[in-house]
């Protein structure tokens, strides 16, 4: 078959893959709301929130730099297209970036989550959409925005947060495992998986079977590095050596599709999820090696946090800290 794969067929494949993946565990409704500890959702908030703080803080000057872009380059998308018909003033834009960064901290530590988290989600959506409103829509921040939005409307600060600490001080008992702590984790997991499948579907719709030959992937990598070369950016380390071996791209093209369209298997959990995560992460490392394009959210493994028990390492670290605090000081180590 040549040309784009019909969308219906691709969607059918996807639906079947998700259904099989989930049915392998238990009926959908029970799986979605099966009780989870509040710490599982809280851990996701901590991981995503910490990434957001680091990302916004580390790219602060870069983001503020969009305030100096010419009005003629303004091509609004998404919510920015709905709200603005001209760019913001540099001062207003800088204030927005500052406010978003401050609210990211509140989100990460779980302070006044019920009110500040939705505000952060809205500001993050606007700020990162604005950054994408100057002629180039990037794909590196979509999952971050979506995960924050999901966590913002869930009880993600019922544990391991300033809010939870304040409640404990008032004498309230920590909440028990419940379905209300599960739905947001499941939704974030399905959203992560969906973005990969959507990328695979786009590939099939745009390139069709030609993708599987490997030539399209080779051309993409060549063109991307050409752009970097003439525009004064660093080209990827492995690009030039590999461009001379077209056969390798057939394998890479097939592997790309398998990772993307096979993403729903990660919903099975356990080792299967671990294997898919390792493969998808390797795919992003490959993108760095061949195109020098960085997807920080999956490269930092944060994109995959909803698919695993990300509360375990945090609980382990907290237990270690408590143990070391409770341990009596060795003899002779006291003050003379």
């Amino acid at each position: 078959m040549t040309g784009p794969l019909p969308t219906g067929l691709a969607l059918g494949l996807l639906g079947a893959a998700i259904a099989v993946a989930i049915a392998a565990r238990r009926p959908l409704g029970r799986w979605w709301l099966a009780p989870l500890a509040p710490t599982r959702l809280a851990a996701l908030r901590l991981v995503v929130g910490t990434f957001a703080v680091g990302y916004l803080g580390g790219r602060f000057l870069h983001l503020v730099g969009y305030g100096a872009f010419a009005a003629a380059d303004f091509r609004p998308v998404g919510v920015v297209d709905l709200l603005l018909d001209r760019p913001l003033s540099s001062a207003a834009w800088t204030a927005l970036v500052v406010a978003t960064t401050i609210l990211a901290v509140a989100f990460a530590v779980g302070a006044w989550h019920r009110w500040l988290a939705p505000a952060f989600a809205a500001l993050l959506l606007f700020t990162l959409t604005y950054r994408n409103s100057f002629g180039m829509v990037f794909h590196t921040e979509n999952l971050l925005v979506l995960h924050v939005a999901i966590l913002a409307v869930s009880p993600a600060a019922d544990a391991w947060s300033v809010d939870a600490w304040r409640r404990l001080r008032r004498g309230r008992t920590p909440p028990a495992p419940d379905g209300r702590y599960a739905w947001a984790v499941r939704t974030a997991a399905v959203v992560t998986v969906s973005t990969y499948v959507l990328a695979g579907i786009a590939r099939l719709r745009l390139a069709g079977d030609a993708w599987l030959g490997g030539e399209q992937l080779r051309n993409q990598i060549a063109i991307d590095n050409l752009r970097k070369h003439v525009l004064g950016d660093r080209i990827a380390d492995l690009a030039v050596p590999l461009l001379e071996h077209p056969g390798a791209f057939t394998v890479l093209a097939l592997a790309t599709l398998v990772v993307e369209l096979g993403a729903p298997v990660a919903l099975v959990g356990g080792r299967v999820a671990g294997l898919w995560i390792a493969t998808a992460w390797g795919f992003h490392v490959g993108v760095v090696a061949l195109m020098n394009i960085w997807f920080p959210y999956p490269l930092a493994l944060v994109a995959y946090a909803p698919l695993v028990a990300c509360d375990r390492p945090i609980a382990w670290a907290l237990a270690r800290i408590r143990t070391s605090r409770a341990r009596p000081a060795p003899a002779g180590s006291g003050d003379p």
Partner: protein, 152 residues
Amino acid sequence: MTRAERALALAASIGFVLAVWWPVHRAPRDDGFPLSTYPMFATPRATTMSLDYAVAIDAAGGRRPVPPHDVANGEVLAASAVLRAAVGRGRAGIAELCARIAARVARDPALAGTQTIAIVTGKHDAVDLLVRGVRGPERERGRCPVPGQGAP
């Protein structure tokens, strides 16, 4: 979990998942943010491409590419979009962008000695240029002096 809470949780879940899948109804290239068709690296292309870029020229005629942070903000795709938009606006757009780049280059120690900025459209074969060092045809769209460098 009460029945109302279950209903709300499921409604929110369905809403988020449907929203993420909504773009599949659009044409693949009709991209958006954060709800995307994720068309990156999927459009079929040849290895030959026409690109707009800026070149720093020194007194001896030496040519170096102007890095993205002197064109836009450090992102190569953003710089490419800015250059493409300026060339699309014609002479006035090119002159305006060229002057802006020249002002930044004047403060960039990595491009010290640059006298002139040229905005160029080049058509290169990626494999020929990257692997064999063979450049394609280039057409100069405009040039401007770097402030304080006494360009002719």
